[in-house]
Symmetry: C2
Subunit: 382 residues, 2 copies
């Protein structure tokens, strides 16, 4: 039997434990220390986010966003149904009603043209999810938001180091366009820290309060900058900041971001080139990247013509000791939310639920292994 | 000038980075892996908690508790005013109204005899905070909770390895008595992981749902145990679980729990014996430990007769390069909550706000340093 190829393998650059040791030995291991600041500054400088705050998860960054926009019971938030549960939970925790949009025919991301008719006087925010790190059409979304005075919170969990090219021809980093954005550094992402995330704040009206909410509702950061004489409870908040142990791990990843991205893009391109003909012969679709989007090689996925064929493919690959996996289950069909959903059919979302398959994609995937995956797929008969 | 004595210094047992390396090298660095399970089992076995779940902070454990008891807008939660902001924020995030109780004359913990008259038909929970790791009178609180059908959520942030001796003569670990309990492993605590916490579940009605809420509202844990065929969104939830990097650090601490506790208790006893006469001569009170409580040596504090004398003492110690610090500011007087508070005066809480002083207390505090602190205090003239 061939050696097993996992779906994901967290990549270590080699300096993670070196920086953790440094953090631990300096004696500052709670949050908001040297490495937290280094990481935040790195992201602000490289991607043009106005202000960054590391969080313990992308979920927590979304929860901060929901608090920041003063979301209240009964407010409505528009987002795709084909997404991770946290996209919705973060807003439901503040009492919001989730209004789900279908995916596009050619991409699992939300159908921007289906948003406007869902906007009511209760709508407070739109949450585009950049599926597979591929941008939604942000001009369309930002225009809608401006017209209807809504907030845009980018769920950029998968979207580090990816870009959107606007109508104006300017290329902007994903996460720098919406009023607020959330990133993930979970071990399944391009850049990792085990569990971890970040809130990017682009609308400066949120800057001061974000820092307060992050520090458990206190003005502790202002206090340390000497702006107030004592620090005290001034707002809602939680413990959103990660330990320096996590931030120092993340720093080792950031030092190698270019190398990691180049390697992943090479793997993605190999898949794409070598599977192209086979896919077209077998009625299978490869990922499509719109003209306005770049590809950060977060994910390589196939879309089958039906669930039966996808299941067969998963089983065939498994029999070759290769782990390929499906992805989200439409949130509007879940046990938790189906009775709360307004009943609209979301056919594309359900189609991706049933037919999308993700191939192994990680830094250490060797050329030999990639060829084994590709050859296995080619042996698979629809 | 004498070498500076900080207020706190996080203690490393020496094996933290060894276990972190092990976690990192096994390739599982997201949550709920080997070290998370080892830590949880350790706590369940040693302290008799029914079920434990590590969290990213004590704040997050309190937020889980608030979700678990189905707290709703307008529900009331009774807690001391002399506590950390997270005790209150966790419940306010669910829409609750906080009803503050005063502290006792002889201890900063909540006055158990002042609780009953604050109970209304909207009261849902009592949150005793075991200040300095010293137990509240849990028989009184559990009796009240039973009579009025309330939940008890122990804020055991400072209370690891401390006990309560009930009317029945049985000694129970703090955190094992209330329906739910929250612990902190922040770097200022006896046992640390930088940032970190734990929810202890003692009422089995909460066990299954706690695991779901912890796993972002999904039944992922049941799925991995083979109890359900697929995992999906079934409830509210968030990303409450810490990385294995954090859990492996914590494991190194737990292996040395007895050593850490013995050392801290020795320091505490030295303070107590050597400051006793001086304190009594200067109208300063040392910590009192009720008969029903043990002492986990989390904190050594003095209570002065007024704010002026405490301020003088802080300044005098600082001039000797010793950092001693005050503690909470009564939450009912905060910018955020004073307009929401019902106006009752909480005199003891305000007294501790103004007069309590914490002395340096950490594992590596040497006998020479302790003597220097004690001698400095003795030089200080009220």
């Amino acid at each position: 039997m061939n050696k097993s190829i996992p779906f994901n393998k967290p990549y270590l650059t080699g300096k993670e434990t070196y920086y953790i040791n440094d953090a631990v030995n300096t004696g500052k291991i709670s949050g908001n220390g040297k490495y937290t600041k280094k990481c935040q500054t790195f992201f602000e400088d490289k991607y043009g986010f106005k202000k960054c705050l590391l969080t313990t998860s992308c979920t927590d960054a979304l929860e901060m966003a929901a608090i920041l926009i003063n979301l209240k019971e009964g407010d409505e938030v528009i987002m795709p149904s084909y997404t991770f549960v946290s996209t919705a939970n973060a807003f439901i925790l503040r009492g919001a009603k989730i209004v789900f949009v279908d995916s596009k025919k050619d991409h699992p991301g939300m159908d921007e043209d289906a948003i406007e008719k869902l906007i009511t006087d209760k709508t407070k925010a739109i949450v585009p999810v950049h599926y597979a790190g591929v941008s939604c059409d942000m001009d369309k979304i930002m225009d809608l938001a401006e017209t209807h005075r809504l907030f845009v919170i980018e769920d950029a969990a998968q979207a580090i180091d990816s870009y959107y090219v606007g109508k104006d021809g300017i290329q902007r980093a994903l996460g720098s366009i919406g009023h607020l954005s959330a990133f993930s550094f979970h071990e399944t992402k391009n850049i990792i820290s085990g569990e971890g995330g970040m809130l990017a704040i682009n609308d400066s009206q949120f800057e001061a309060r974000a820092e307060i909410i992050w520090e458990k509702g206190t003005n502790r950061s202002s206090f340390f900058r000497g702006e107030v004489a004592k620090y005290e409870w001034v707002d809602l908040g939680s413990s959103f900041l990660p330990s320096e142990i996590i931030a120092s791990f993340l720093w080792a990843q950031l030092e190698n971001l270019n190398d990691i991205q180049n390697k992943r893009k090479a793997i993605w391109t190999t898949y794409s080139l070598k599977l192209n003909q086979w896919a077209s012969n077998n009625n299978i679709k490869l990922p499509s990247i719109p003209e306005y989007a770049t590809n950060n090689a977060h994910m390589f996925y196939l879309t089958f013509d039906n669930n039966f064929n996808r299941t067969k493919a998963i089983e065939f690959l498994k029999s070759n000791n290769i782990l390929a996996v499906f992805h989200y289950i439409s949130l509007h069909t879940s046990s938790f939310y189906k009775s709360k959903h307004d009943g609209r059919k979301l056919l594309q979302s359900d189609r991706y639920t049933n037919t999308l398959l993700r191939l192994p994609m990680y830094y250490e995937l060797s050329d030999v292994e990639i060829d084994r995956i590709i050859n296995s797929l080619k042996e698979y008969k629809v």
